[in-house]
């Protein structure tokens, strides 16, 4: 019997699609670490550092040296035979540091109602350079103005040095009686060793309803679908070329950028276009904004604002303190390297 015939028969008998192949069963976005809009290598400083899309690393303490990087599977070496994924996630701590009381790799899933009152199965593939312990657990955050965060009990695993799939079941508490505020979420946390050196590799993370770990699929099941899911929370334009600015008067250059996906909420805009420099020996009419080249313009520039307006599907960029331009005229601004503009509506 072919898979199509089997699927059809099971669908008829159960009144629905067959669970292992259902897009959307996995509530983890970018569980195969295929999307890295922010870059592919991160030296971690500060905290709550987003790395691969939707995944951030959080910790306290001091003195540690950590990097997160995109690693490429050698064709044929992915942990699941027949599932040729391209990349996996690596966290390497080369200097242990001290004073750490928490250290997590986390993904937040929108809306604390997700899986409320249900048993869920968490599954992931991992390996490490030695037999380190990793704790997998949930948190229920009820948002701004909501009830206090709840942490259902999780499971501690001792990782192997070769790719292995680990699974656990977690009973997610009901939200009955809780107050749900703005921006609520549940989060999957992988607590990794504190004050220690190690290398941890991760791939194929899945969180699904029920008590069985079904075959891994991404949340959407498609490349373009997964990118769109990520872009609900973050969108970055790298080395933007020829953004169409218009001089609006009031010393302001303005550009609107269509966002590919309507964002979850009003996003934070970020850019590293934050200073006005010259390069080499430019003529009076050549001006650079960091790596930005502004052709045949002259003037002064002091700051940038990146924001979005309802319904959060258009991104706006305003550059302030320009003078000497004609109101209403367009000005194309070209780009060099290492310049980005981004909008974030992460949870």
């Amino acid at each position: 019997m072919s898979r199509a015939q089997l699927t059809s028969t099971v669908e008829q008998n159960t009144g629905g699609a067959v669970a292992p192949f259902v897009a959307g069963k996995n509530k983890i976005i970018n569980g195969d670490f295929g999307i890295w809009q922010r870059g592919t290598s991160f030296s971690l400083t500060g905290s709550n550092i987003y790395t691969a899309d939707r995944w951030f690393v959080n910790y306290d303490g001091s003195g540690a040296t950590r990097t997160v990087s995109q690693q490429t599977f050698t064709p044929g070496s992915a942990p699941v035979a027949g599932y040729e994924s391209a990349y996996f996630f690596r966290l390497a701590t080369t200097v242990a540091g001290s004073g750490q009381t928490y250290a997590d790799i986390t993904q937040r899933i929108e809306d604390v109602r997700t899986f409320a009152g249900q048993t869920v199965t968490v599954s992931f593939w991992a390996k490490a350079d030695s037999a380190i312990s990793v704790y997998a657990g949930f948190g229920q955050n009820f948002g701004s103005g909501g009830s206090s965060t709840v942490y259902p009990s999780g499971t501690t695993f001792t990782l192997s040095t070769s790719w292995t799939r680990y699974t656990t079941q977690i009973a997610v508490p009901s939200v009955t009686g809780k107050t749900i505020g703005t921006g609520s979420f549940i989060e999957l946390d992988f607590a990794y060793p504190k004050n220690a050196t190690f290398t941890l590799d991760l791939w194929g993370v899945q969180v699904e309803a029920g008590s069985v770990a079904t075959p891994f699929t991404t949340a959407s099941g498609t490349f373009q679908g997964e990118l769109a899911l990520c872009q609900r929370y973050y969108y970055q334009i790298n080395t933007p070329t020829n953004l169409p600015f218009t001089f609006q008067g009031n010393a302001t250059m303005f550009a609107s950028v269509p966002l590919p996906v309507t964002m979850r909420t009003a996003p934070t805009g970020t850019t590293n276009i934050n200073s006005f420099t010259t390069s080499g020996s430019p003529s009076a009419t050549q001006i650079y904004l960091n790596a930005y080249y502004v052709g045949n313009l002259s003037g002064t520039y002091s700051s940038a604002t990146v924001y979005s307006t309802l319904p959060y599907n258009v991104g706006n960029i305003q550059l302030y303190s320009w003078s000497g331009y004609t109101t209403g005229l367009p000005y194309l601004i070209g780009s060099g390297s290492s310049v980005y503009v981004a909008w974030s509506a992460e949870l």
Partner: protein, 57 residues
């Protein structure tokens, strides 16, 4: 480098400006569902009193 916040108003546009550890600049809308705005409010609360400029280490 530390993270710093400033409250900015330019014309009708009012927002929180955050200078990040890498020197990039963020514009944070005053939206309760925005997690960066929540972090800003938490920083203000930790500093006890609202002020025009605050610093988060």
């Amino acid at each position: 480098m530390t993270i710093t916040y400033s409250e900015i108003t330019i014309g009708e546009l009012s927002f929180i400006q955050r200078t990040n550890e890498d020197g990039s600049i963020s514009t944070i809308p005053a939206d309760p569902a925005n997690s960066d705005y929540q972090a800003y409010l938490a920083t203000l609360a930790a500093n006890s009193a609202p002020q025009a400029n605050s610093t988060e280490s």
